[in-house]
């Protein structure tokens, strides 16, 4: 081995290990959130008439979540070992993984609307039946769209400065996904649209071009709100929850009662009472309120703190990664997760109108957890392989 080769070899090895601390931090944060989620779901699922645990633990939300946490951890390990280069678009459209994932997610999203395949829970068609499991395609679509957009925007030949061949096709893809998702799940659609828009800007699209797709996007957003009566109610009841405390203002009031009841230091783990049928969706969308009730607002701020560190670590990774595809992947995937967390907590604290959106890694729910694990795995992969890929090619 000559000197030049030795230097290159050393650089390659350094690439592996130099930034491994970020990945470890990221995984540590995720593990902390998952652990907190498990404990809180276990607490929140408490019911007066639930059968003893040993009888059917794995049918309870906490039992299921334990399995999903296992799968999610597996996803993190697998995707952090797979070189993210695998997701990079190939020479042709048909040869790129991102495209196929996107196509699959569109099919699944449409499938959720087909009776017999799709499933309705609480009046919303967001799920696909999969034997005894249910699957939420929008969780997959989020990740697929980010991978697809990052791939497209990182291609050197992509005409990012042009409107017709550059922005328009991507806007249409985003619009399509958001449209299908938003019909039943406006919160997730809003998260996807917001992060996609930011991703497009970060990918080099002219900022003022975005105004053009933004106008129809906003119009569609307004249409979707008005098309479902309950959404209008949620907005009016957000402005004045006391107007209908037993109806549309119920979620908001009960969530506030949980947070206020917990005080600064909380009622103690398992001691909360809002979970006994008062606060709906206590293991999923409103788990943050249960955390605040039992661990106090201090506990809630700790959760916020974890997500803030999560964002900072995302930024550190984003900064050190040198290739465009990797950068955009980190941006999109971390952005989606952090944005979702922000909106969820905003809903729980009645800072924005009520939306059904989960707190990543904490809320009960398999699809979200598994694909969030996949996203973290990919981010770790980028963190690890980006330098290697650059050096290897040279």
């Amino acid at each position: 081995m000559n000197e030049e080769q030795t230097i290159k070899h050393n650089d390659l090895m350094l690439g592996f290990f130099r930034y491994q601390g970020y990945a470890l931090m990221l995984q540590g944060l995720v593990l902390a959130l998952m652990g907190l989620g498990l404990v809180m779901i276990y607490s929140a699922q408490g019911r007066v008439d639930r059968p003893p645990l040993h009888e059917a633990f794995f049918t309870t939300p906490a039992g299921k979540q334990l399995v999903f946490v296992g799968i999610s951890l597996l996803m993190i390990i697998i995707f952090s070992w797979i070189n993210y280069d695998w997701f990079r678009p190939g020479e042709t459209t048909l040869g790129s993984v991102g495209f196929w994932m996107l196509l699959l997610s569109v099919i699944l999203l449409i499938g959720a609307y087909i009776p017999g395949i799709g499933m309705e829970i609480n009046g919303a068609r967001r799920w696909i039946k999969f034997g005894s499991f249910t699957f939420q395609p929008s969780e997959f679509a989020k990740i697929a769209l980010m991978i697809y957009l990052a791939g497209k925007l990182s291609q050197s030949e992509f005409p990012r400065k042009e409107f017709l061949r550059g922005l328009l096709p991507l806007s249409l893809v985003v619009g399509l996904i958001c449209g299908i998702v938003g019909k039943e799940d406006l919160g997730t659609a809003a998260v996807i649209a917001a992060v996609s828009g930011l991703l497009l800007v970060a990918g080099g699209i002219q900022l003022w071009y975005l105004i053009l797709p933004a106008v129809p996007a906003i119009l569609m957003f307004v249409y979707l709100i008005l098309s479902e009566g309950y959404r209008v109610q949620r907005i009016t009841s957000f402005l004045n929850p006391e107007a209908d405390p037993q109806g549309s203002g119920y979620h908001a009031i009960q969530s506030l009662l949980a947070i206020a009841g917990g005080g600064w230091w909380g009622m103690g783990l398992g001691e909360g009472t809002q979970k006994y049928g008062y606060l709906p969706e206590d293991t999923t969308d409103f788990i943050f309120s249960i955390i605040c009730e039992e661990l106090g607002s201090v506990g809630g701020m700790a959760v916020l703190g974890i997500f803030m560190v999560f964002v900072i670590v995302g930024w550190l990774i984003f900064r050190h990664v040198k290739d465009d595809f990797g950068k955009l992947l980190v941006f999109g995937l971390m952005g989606v997760i952090a944005m979702q967390a922000t909106i969820n907590i905003a809903v729980a604290t009645v800072s924005v109108p009520t939306k059904g959106i989960a707190l990543p890694f904490v809320s009960a729910g398999g699809s979200g957890l598994i694909f969030a694990g996949m996203a973290i795995g990919i981010v770790c992969s980028v963190n690890k392989y980006s330098q290697w890929n650059l050096l290897k090619d040279s």
Binding site: V48, Y276, S297, S351
Partner: protein, 586 residues
């Protein structure tokens, strides 16, 4: 974007702080009130036992269905579902829910005292269906008073209202002892109203009521009521009373009133029938009053055993008043005046005694004052003050007129004669049993009110005078061979409600009475039977109407007590011949 997200999260932390600072207090109170529930822990009312520990009134726990209108989405649908299970019409349930909802009440009884199985299936269905029609429906177990033997001792026991408060009889008199103290359970409940855990420092356990033992004997009470009922029905009477007492202790062994009342259906019974007439309704006693005056005539020395008294052949005129006897008699001995119930003979004794002594006699036997029995609503009877007594009174009082007393007063005064002249306080309460099963407040020693007459005179009255009434006087139908029954008949006219004196009586309206006891040598029971307004065509004399009833009661009593006859009933009874007169003549 990263910076934007960080800022948004910082803003949310601020929002949390804002919630705690601004709304914490107000919202916290609301969370408490929506989650805390209270439930009355009802104290179980004490049991009432008879003197031998048989249950007369008990309490058992029955389920009642209640509703919480706030938790019910559709009152009609819920009312229909509940009514289908407990098999009651849905309409009243629906109305109760609507009324409670209008009042913003969160608790209303929908059906009280439902079937236990129905309540169980209601709760099972509620559990299985989870959130549904049965949200806000619950079962609360309530004590229900049950009078195990129905009408037996109904008038004595009285009854309780729906909330378990005594409203009559023993239930009212000893309400405080029986009732106990309700407790309270405070708990955190889930949204469907189900209990999660207790708030220990706000809970108060209930204190159950104490049990009570009565002097009543259920068996004696039962046959007394049966015999009284048969008598009243046979003679088509308006009402009747019977009191059975132990003369040695003043214990009331049975107190019966006809028509009977069933405390289990107290609310549906007319007030007229609910009244315990044996203590609430005074009446003019008539001839059964004579022994008390006669005893004092002996004591005062105005006459003596065997003295011949001229009875004016059935018509005796004093001033403008003429007294009559049912049969005209010439000379009667003192004993015969009582045993043949001569009004004229008694009037003469009265004249010899004078109003002052008569008044003393009346008061000595406790007339004109409450006997002090532990039952609510006792009437003192009527004895006019001495200064309002006239010459009329001198002759009326000895034959039981111008005076009114209750069945219990008569029985108790008669018991004094049977108990060597000692007038005891009649009692119905023997003791209580506390929560540890210990007997407390036991009443053993009889309570002496007054020595009504000397023991010798009392014994003479029983053995020589009252026994004679049964063997050869007006009370022959009361005799039970071998048991030395003694007694006195009475047939009193019913005074018009406007007041006393002749001409103030209703036409053909009588109280047929008999005061009896046995055995004469050592009296163990006294019985008072009074039949009000028997049908005149069937019979109305005390010796006809009431004496057989007393006989049956005495016979049943000794049979029940397994006491063999004191004399051989087949042997011809030898009657004491006092003063050389043939008392068996006639």
């Amino acid at each position: 974007m990263f910076a934007f997200l960080l800022l948004a999260m910082l803003a949310l932390a601020g929002r949390l702080t804002y919630i705690q600072l601004k709304k914490g207090e107000q919202l916290g109170i609301r969370a408490d009130s929506q989650q805390q529930g209270y439930q009355r822990q009802v104290a179980v009312r004490g049991t009432i036992y008879d003197r031998r520990g048989r249950i007369l009134a008990g309490t058992h726990i029955v389920p009642s269905v209640y509703g919480d209108p706030v938790m019910i989405y559709d009152n009609m649908a819920t009312a229909e579902s509940v009514s289908a299970i407990i098999s009651e019409p849905p309409r009243p349930i629906f109305e109760k829910l609507e009324q409670a909802a209008a009042k913003k009440s969160r608790f209303v009884f929908l059906a009280r005292g439902v079937d236990v199985e129905a309540a169980d299936s209601l709760m099972t269905i509620r559990r299985k269906r989870g959130n549904g029609l049965f949200d806000g429906i619950g079962i609360q177990y309530e004590p229900k008073r049950t009078y195990t033997t129905g009408t037996v001792a109904g008038h004595v026991l009285g009854a309780v209202n729906i909330d378990g408060e005594g409203i009559e009889g023993i239930e009212l008199y000893y309400d405080k002892v029986l009732r106990g103290k309700d407790g309270r359970e405070a708990f955190i409940r889930d949204a469907a109203g189900r209990k999660i855990w207790l708030i220990k420092d706000q809970c108060r356990p209930p204190v159950d009521g104490k049990h009570i033992i009565l002097s009543i004997d259920r068996v004696i009470q039962q046959f007394t009521q049966r015999i009284l009922g048969q008598t009243c029905e046979y003679y088509k009477a308006e009402s009747g009373t019977a009191v059975v007492m132990d003369p040695k202790t003043g214990d009331i062994l049975a107190m019966a009133v006809w028509p009977e009342v069933d405390p289990n259906a107290f609310g549906n019974t007319a007030a007229e029938i609910r009244r315990n007439r044996a203590i609430t309704d005074p009446f003019e006693p008539g001839s059964i009053f004579k022994p008390f005056i006669a005893a004092h005539a002996l004591q005062d020395g105005v006459t003596q055993l065997g003295e011949s008294i001229y009875c004016h052949n059935g018509a005796y005129t004093v001033g403008r008043r003429t007294l009559h006897d049912a049969h005209g008699y010439g000379y009667l001995t003192f004993q015969e005046v009582v045993s043949k119930s001569s009004n004229i003979g008694m009037a003469i004794l009265g004249q010899r005694m004078g109003n002052g002594k008569l008044y003393e006699a009346v008061r000595a036997f406790g007339f004109g004052q409450r006997s002090g029995v532990d039952l609510r609503g006792e009437a003192p009877g009527i004895v006019l003050p001495l200064k309002r007594w006239t010459d009329y009174s001198t002759m009326s009082i000895p034959m039981g007129q111008e005076i009114a007393c209750t069945s219990l007063q008569l029985a108790n005064a008669f018991a004094a004669l049977a108990n060597e002249g000692q007038l005891l306080k009649p009692r119905i309460f023997r003791g209580a049993i506390d929560e540890n099963g210990l007997l407390i407040d036991e009443r053993i020693e009889p309570e002496l009110i007054n020595q009504a007459v000397t023991p010798e005179i009392a014994r003479t009255m029983v053995l020589d005078v009252l026994r004679l009434t049964v063997t050869s006087g007006t009370g022959k139908r009361a005799d039970v061979p071998g048991y030395q029954v003694f007694g006195k008949t009475g047939t009193a006219q019913i005074a018009k409600s406007t007041g006393g004196g002749k001409g103030h009586y209703e036409e053909n309206a009588y109280v047929g009475s008999f005061l009896g006891g046995a055995p004469a040598s050592d009296p163990q029971i006294v019985v008072s039977v009074n039949i009000r307004r028997p049908n005149r065509r069937i019979g109305y004399y005390g010796g006809t109407v009431a004496a057989p009833a007393v006989k049956e009661i005495i016979r049943a009593y000794f049979e029940y007590m397994h006491i063999p006859p004191f004399e051989d009933p087949n042997e011809k009874e030898e009657v004491k011949n006092v003063g050389g007169f043939d008392t068996t003549a006639e």
